[in-house]
Structure formats: structure tokens, C-alpha cells
Amino acid sequence: MKYLDEFRDPVVAKKILDEIHVVTTQPWVIMEICGGQTHSIIRNGIDQVLPKEIELVHGPGCPVCVTPLEIIDRAIEIAGRPDVIFTSFGDMLRVPGSHKDLFMVRSEGGDVRTVFSPLESLKIARENPDKEVVFFAVGFETTAPGNAMAIAQAAKEGLTNFSELVSHVLVPPAMEALLSSPSNRVQGYLAAGHVCTVMGWDEYDPIAKKYEVPIVITGFEPMDVLDGILHTVKQLEAGTYKVENRYARIVEQGGNQAAQALIKDVFEIANRKWRGIGEIPASGFKIRKKYASYDAELKFSVGDIRTEEPEACISGVILQGLKKPHDCPAFGKECTPQNPLGATMVSSEGACAAYYKYQRILDK
């Protein structure tokens, strides 16, 4: 398949891998930010074939994983109302709230639907004027333009029965939070290619300079990931710390200007809680006042629902790259994809689920 197969070619991948082995002379800790990259690394067994000096730690870039429990509980509260059609991307439906997940809300009679785009939710809103249609707007900068567009479009059409439950988070503040933590081990970053497609890479330059870490933007196919690792290691070995774009087939320095304008029109920067990490200042989006009537949190007055995380789960330290899923006593025992204790076990992009799915027993 064009644009995929050439980035999965095992022969070329092997060449990059050999080069990584050649340039690596000492131990390095590299974090891939994005859960899509984590999934690709584990699925293709990249971590199994790297030099033993290179440790990959899995970052917080999994939207399902970092959405705080209280937002899930708010979603469940809204979705259970008889006048609501609650719409969401598929993988949010299985995330456990305090007492149940959205699938259970559906089995109890709630109208919960999977959509592939927030614009689909808009269509449902047009077709069901007597219902309140809510879209669960989670994710990073990647999904923000689409979610902003749905609100802007609803406003343009004068739709009053559409709203979004927003839990949008941003990558650069999380990178900074991790780097400034006293327990930080990360020496280099693989930046998330699709986030940079939207936002460009200007915001990464100050981080690279301030913390003296190389940041290499890369994609999701095995060759992209290997190439990203190679260029990070090269910089680490040379002692440089630049932002490097190795995903140039998609990413431009200024990003997607039209998408950024949409985001800016609808959202403003806000403090956000990250599941397992806690509140990070200015690390997310909330809906601007002028679009307040599209904010489901206000519309359904669920802002008061506050929930503490369960203690057994160590997903917080896993999301910070301090521990690996295997280090958790509950991993594969009390905590499995059938019965996840924390969000990193739910999404296929979560580190725990990826380890469980692909490496549970073979690497013993």
C-alpha cells in the first residue's frame, strides 16, 4: 500500500537498526511521547531489537489514558440522561469510571453511540432536534481542530442541541512537566508527528534549549520510529539538543495555520488535570466564553463531580516513564484488559495494554 509499505520495509528498517547499533556507545533513555508510537514499538518488537543501552520509556500521549477519572464520571452522568444522545470515539467507551463505563450506560438504556468524527455528531444533532447531542471531545492537538470545527459549525447553523464535553490536553506543557520533575530520567524525546502536523514545531525549540534535550519529530511506522531513535541517539552521542523534523513528508514548521486559527477561535488555554499525573498549569483547552452554550459541562452542570483516583494503579508513574508495566504488582493479575484498574490498560495505545497484548509471556 502506497505511503505505508515503504515505511514498513524490513530490509530498510534493518539498515537503520544496524546504524543505531553502530552509533550507540553508552546508555540513553528516550521517551516516545505518543501512544500511537508506543503501540507501534511494542507491536513491531522494536524494543526487543534495539541495543541494550537504549531504554525506551513510554510517554503520556494517549488521550484515553490521561483523561481524568472525574471527566469519565461526568460523561457517564450526562450519557445516562433520557434526553441525551451521547457520542464518542470508540475507545473511550470502555474506560472505567468510578462505578461503570459508557458501555454499561448503553446497556442500561442510555443512547450512547460511536462516531468517527465530531461532524457526525453534528449530523445526529440536526436529525434529532428534540434530543441533546453531546460529543466527548478528548485528545491532544491532533483532534482539537475537528472538535473546534464542530462547535464553530453548530454556532454558524444556530444548532442549540449540540454540545461538547471537553477534556483537551497539550503536549509541550506535559513534556516540560516531566523534564522539570526531580525524578526525571528522560534524555531525549521522540515528538508526536501528528501533533506537530497541526501545531508545527516552534514551541519545542525553547524546551530543547532550556532542558538541553534533543527532540526529534517522527511518525508511526516502524521505519519512522527507528529513524527517530537513530537521530535522537546521534544528537545524544554528539551532545547536541536541537529540534529535528524527521517527518517532513507531513510536518511543516508552521503547522496547519487554518487548523490553528479554528482552535484559537473556539478554545482557550486552561489548566488541566492529567490522569495519573495531576494538574499541569496551562496544559489544555477549554471552550471560550463566546461558545459557552456549547459546553456540556455548563449545560448539564456536572462540573461539581470530583473523583479521586484508585490507589492500586501505578499508571501515573508509568505515564511519567518512571516505571514499566511489568513493575506493577497488579499487571496481568488483578489488572487486565477485561478488568482494567487504570486507563493505561484500556486503550490499545496505553503502555500496559500494549505490553499485555504483545509481550506478556514471551519475554519472560
Partner: protein, 349 residues
Amino acid sequence: MDFPDNLSCPVPILSHDTVQLAHGAGGKLSNEMIDKIFLPRFLNSTLEKMEDQAVLDNPGGRIAFSTDTFVVDPIFFPGGDIGDLAINGTVNDIAMSGAIPRYLSVGFILEEGLAFETLHRIVLSMEQAAKFAGVQIVAGDTKVVNRGSCDKLFINTSGFGFVPDNVNISASNLELGDKIILSGTLADHGMAVMTTREGLSFQSTVESDTAALNHLVQDMLGVSSNIHALRDPTRGGLATSLNEFAASSNVGIQLYRDTLPVKENVRGACEILGIDPLYVANEGKLVAIVPPDVADEMLNTMRDNDYGKAASIIGEVTDKHPGIVALQTGLGANRIVDMPVGEQLPRIC
């Protein structure tokens, strides 16, 4: 609604255009529906007697019996519909024992208001599927439920066939060194239904592979009756069937990645939705576990059959990692192919 085939067989004229609750009440309307819609299409000497049961000859030996219920949404999809799916599904379940499927029963649950035009089209497709598979429909039942109590129509088929004396096929028969043969491409049916349901369109339509595989199985048994295990990987896909084999026989299964065949457009759909073809339903494919000494001849014979043209050897049975299915990645690493948990969910990004 278009009628690409069977133009020679127009919808019979009935006193109603749509199914009424009375059509399920056992009176005149029920009889009219049976006489005009079902009987002409399914007719055989057993059904013709219109008794409360089918009385059939017993040739002796072992019987393979199976049942399945079909609730697919949408009821029409590229490559098939709920009708041929219902025939092929039960035929294949019987055939995976090595049996020759012979007789089916069909139970319909119809939603009040269903157009007879739709029902007729489905019954025609069942007739054709049964004819191809060589099975007779010898018993049937119809119920009509209130609008909203079911989605258009549900179909149950049950059936049986006769297992040849020297054949013993079971998930617990796997032996070290056995080869794993897949009869064709993966994920066609599941992705056809999913792309239709979600309104996703591609340059070339993703078509279901729904087909009866009993003739293919008999061709294979012609090569050797020593087939160790057979499954048609429907719900849960190939990954589920192989995990069941590995668990039942307590052996490991090693797949050679580069040989897993998926059609280009199906792969595209899977990539877009973030879905792994290993876990997607097939309705016209089988996976066979055979001793290594018959594998090549088996493969060649399968390739001579229309439903095994793209057959390939995809892996082997190993004593490493018993109970586990593993797959070689392009980089030479080995990863687990686990049982799926619930339905696969399209990812956020």
C-alpha cells in the same frame, strides 16, 4: 433498492406489501406468506409434506450438528446479505468437522412492517446459497414481532451432516511440526459490514467473502483424511481460532508474518479505522492444521478450488510458548497474538 440478479423472479403478489403481525398468527395470512415466499424457493420432498417435523433417513455413522443465529446490520452488504450468510454460516460450522452438510432448518423472526420485497430478496439468496452448498431446507418457522422488537429480521439456521468414518478433526489434535494453512485473504466480511455501516467508501468496494466451504473441505479430505484441525475464523477472526487451537492442544503456534494475506482495499479500511485484520470476521475462509508431509499437496489442491485460490501456509505448530500464538515481526522480533477482549474499537487518533 436495486435487484442486480433474479430479475426472472419477481416479488410474488400478496395481499400486503409489508409483513403484518397477522402473518405470524398461523392463519390465512401465514399460509399465504409460506406458500408464496418460502415454499417455492425452499421446496423439496420433505418440506412439501408440511408436517410439524421433518422425518429423514439415517444412513448410520456419526452426525455433526450445529446452530447459529444471524442478526447482522446492515442486512444487505457488498458481497452478500443476511440470507446467504445464514446458510453459509451453519453449512461451514458443520463442514469444519469434515462432515458433508445435508439438512437445515430455518427460523425467521420478522419485524412488523418489513417489506415483502426485502424478505423475498433474502429468501432468493438463501435458495441460491443452499443450492450451491447442496443442502436441503427441511424445516422452518416464522414469527412476527412488534415494530422495534427486532431490527428488520433475524434468522436462525440449524443443521446437520454426516461425518465420514475415517475422519477425526478436532481443535485438540494439533501436533508439533504441523503446518497451518489459511484458505485466502483475511478480514473481508468484517470490514465489508463495518465500512457499509459507517458509510466509508473506497476506490474499490470492500466485499464480504461469505461462501460455503463444504466442497473445499471435501477436496481437502480427498488429499488426506488426516487433517488435524479445521475452523472457519468468523467472529474474533483468525487470532481467536488459533488461540483456541493452541489452548485446546496445549501447543504453541508460530506465524510467519510476511505470509498473512489481506486485500489492498481491506488493509486500507483496517488502517483508517485502526483495526487489526487478525481479529476481524471472515465468512468464507478456513484455517487448517495438517501434518507437514501432506501440507504442500493440500495447499495445491486447495488452490484449485475457487474458495482456496489464495491459500497459503502461514505458520506452524511449535513446542515453544505452549498455549500462545506468536507472530514474527518484520524486524525479526516475536510478539504475542492474543485473544481479543470484546469488540475492536476504532481509535481516537
